[in-house]
């Protein structure tokens, strides 16, 4: 058994990351309370104002409150990121465990499929899928799930294969337990720490990918507030209203930073190198 090394810097990082993520999640959940101005209410006369008392982060080209849109955009990003990662995790675990436990032709087939998917630049796949399915938050989540499952599948498959030859698994098999049962009860739990770490990075990747797709116009259609779409608008008006680009860029940066710190910290805490 490997002795778990719990390093203090790891704990610190994890705690820092957790704090950031929790803060953002709370902000997203409390969106309506934090910024009473509705994110969709346009007021053309108040367009492109800088930060002021009434609008702490200013207004966009249609006079909508930037802070409100930012906070509502957090909801979208976190929701899509979490949903996509959860779906990818589920798909990946099932496929990976099946491959690892079954062995033989099925294993080979799934392994090759994983290789091909991994060889394909992920964001490109997501873009192509989102383009085909049409712009909507749900389709983005689907596209990101398809982009993300191979990493987990590969991880789980390796764990399952490695652990299958160990004593406790062999013992269980000798006792007559079905291979599925062995996989689920004995092999999977060993993979959990690595999976958790990978999932943390998966969420941050999904958030960035969702923002990328929205930036390209493939995400939730306007006027839904989304960080990527806000950045696209900010970029168009960079010369006259730089605050429009800075706000969502900072939001994305901080969120991703938080999640990555969390993942890094978890990894160090659990004593494993982060598989970025």
């Amino acid at each position: 058994m490997r002795a778990a090394r719990r390093s203090a810097p790891g704990r610190r990082r994890a705690a820092c990351g957790l704090a950031l993520v929790a803060a953002i999640a709370a902000a997203a959940a409390l969106a309506p309370v934090l910024s009473p101005a509705p994110p969709l209410r346009q007021d053309l006369a108040a367009a492109l104002r800088g930060p002021s008392h009434e609008h702490p982060l200013g207004t966009d080209a249609l006079g909508r409150d930037v802070l409100a849109r930012l906070v509502h955009g957090a909801r979208l990003s976190l929701a899509v990121g979490a949903a996509a990662t959860a779906a990818a995790l589920a798909m990946g675990v099932v496929l990976g465990a099946t491959a690892g436990a079954a062995g033989g032709l099925l294993d080979e087939a799934i392994a090759r499929a994983t290789d091909v998917f991994l060889a394909f630049p992920g964001l490109l796949l997501a873009i192509a899928l989102a383009a085909v399915l049409g712009p909507s938050a749900r389709n983005v989540a689907i596209a990101l799930a398809v982009m993300g499952w191979p990493v987990y599948a590969r991880l789980v498959r390796a764990e399952v294969r490695g652990a299958a030859s160990r004593d406790d698994a062999r013992a269980a098999e000798a006792l007559g337990a079905s291979r599925v049962r062995i996989a689920v009860r004995h092999l999977l739990p060993k993979a959990l720490p690595a999976l958790a770490v990978q999932a943390a990075f998966g969420v941050s990747g999904a958030i960035v990918a969702e923002a990328s797709l929205s930036f390209l116009g493939l995400g939730a259609p306007p006027p839904t507030p989304s960080w990527g779409a806000m950045l696209a608008e900010g970029r168009a008006l960079l010369v006259v209203a730089p605050h429009l680009a800075v706000a969502p860029a900072a939001a994305i940066g901080i969120t991703v930073l938080g999640v990555q710190l969390l993942g890094d910290g978890l990894a160090a805490w659990a004593g494993r190198p982060a598989l970025r």
Binding site: R112, D115, V116, A119, F120, P121, G122, L123, L124, L125, I127, A128, L129, A131, V132, L133, S204, V208, A211, S212, F215, L216, G217, L218, G228, L231, A232, G234, R235, L238, V239, P242, A245, V246, P248, A249, I252, G253, I254, V256, L257, Q260, L261, D264, R276
Partner: protein
């Protein structure tokens, strides 16, 4: 070596076929009829038949796959729905721009990442090491389309050092290359640091230090050579991310490359061009991976024998 080439080449080919399959399957996976979606209910039967055959939907998937593969070998990728130009010539016109961007980004990543990685490895736990960690975290947190506008704001609008968009000369590639390459630089720095630190702690290195070799020379000379192999591996994987990132970066900077063509074609529902671009990028990545594998084998002769 020959066996390695064959094996790697085979894998590349398999991946290419896989990509082709995916690209064809995507079009058929759309809910509803794509021809309807593109032409509307009032289209004439002749129009629909023409579009259907242009998209290859009038054949079973496997036959389409074979035809596409054959077309690909010939260099024929179909015609754009919007302009009627052959997709292959559209790609050929835009490809050099993407290559230029990717190469510049790679150069930027190396120029920034390698020195940071070396500095960090020279003194593990020291200031350079912590700085590199901070840099890596920051660069990873800032996606290209967030970093791009910020760089634009700082260096193209506030101070007019660089052009804000388009490809118009050597200075116009600086900001896009920096944007795209920064993330890669961060990963490279950390990987290099890890590999170097490991290499330096080995006996031969200690022996060399005992003989009086300076630390820097040690790191740069012995360490780098040994770290080259894993570095190349990392580079190859990162290039995939680079190509995908190029799509977004090209949009941010209005860079006339394949990525931008892809996004425009998506907006125009020009599926043949979308498929062509996706294929081009994916095959480039496969090609680059192949080259990286071969490069690794060349650099580290033990790999040749092992396979």
């Amino acid at each position: 070596m020959a066996r390695l080439v064959l094996r790697r080449g085979g894998l590349a080919l398999a991946t290419a076929v896989g990509v082709l399959t995916l690209v064809i399957a995507l079009l058929r996976a759309i809910p509803g009829d794509p021809v309807d979606a593109m032409l509307g209910e009032r289209a004439t039967a002749a129009d629909r038949a023409e579009l259907r055959s242009a998209l290859g939907l009038d054949r079973p998937a496997w036959s389409e796959l074979a035809a596409r593969a054959a077309g690909l070998a010939r260099g024929d990728l179909g015609r754009s729905i919007a302009t009627g130009d052959p997709v292959a010539s559209l790609l050929a016109a835009r490809y050099p721009a993407t290559l230029e961007l990717a190469a510049a980004a790679l150069a930027a990543a190396l120029a920034i990442g390698v020195p940071i990685g070396i500095a960090a490895a020279a003194r593990p736990g020291g200031r350079a090491d912590r700085a590199s960690l901070a840099f890596a975290t920051f660069a990873a947190a800032m996606p290209t389309f967030a970093l791009g506008p910020l760089l634009l704001l700082a260096f193209a609008v506030e101070v007019p050092w660089f052009p804000v968009a388009g490809r118009s000369g050597p200075a116009s590639v600086v900001l896009p290359a920096l944007t795209l390459g920064l993330g890669m630089a961060a990963v490279l720095a950390r990987q290099l640091r890890a590999a170097l630190a490991a290499a330096l702690s080995r006996d031969f290195a200690r022996a060399a230090r005992a003989r009086g070799a300076s630390r820097v020379r040690l790191v740069a000379g012995h360490g780098l050579r040994n770290a080259a192999t894993p570095a190349i591996a990392v580079l190859a994987v990162q290039i995939g991310g680079l190509l995908a990132g190029a799509v977004v970066t090209e949009t941010v900077f209005a860079w006339p490359g394949i990525g931008r063509l892809l996004v425009q074609a998506i907006g125009a529902r020009d599926y043949p061009v979308v498929q062509g671009c996706a294929l081009a990028i994916a095959l480039t990545f496969v090609g680059v991976s192949l080259v990286a594998d071969l490069l690794q084998a060349w650099v580290d002769p033990r790999l040749r024998a092992a396979r």
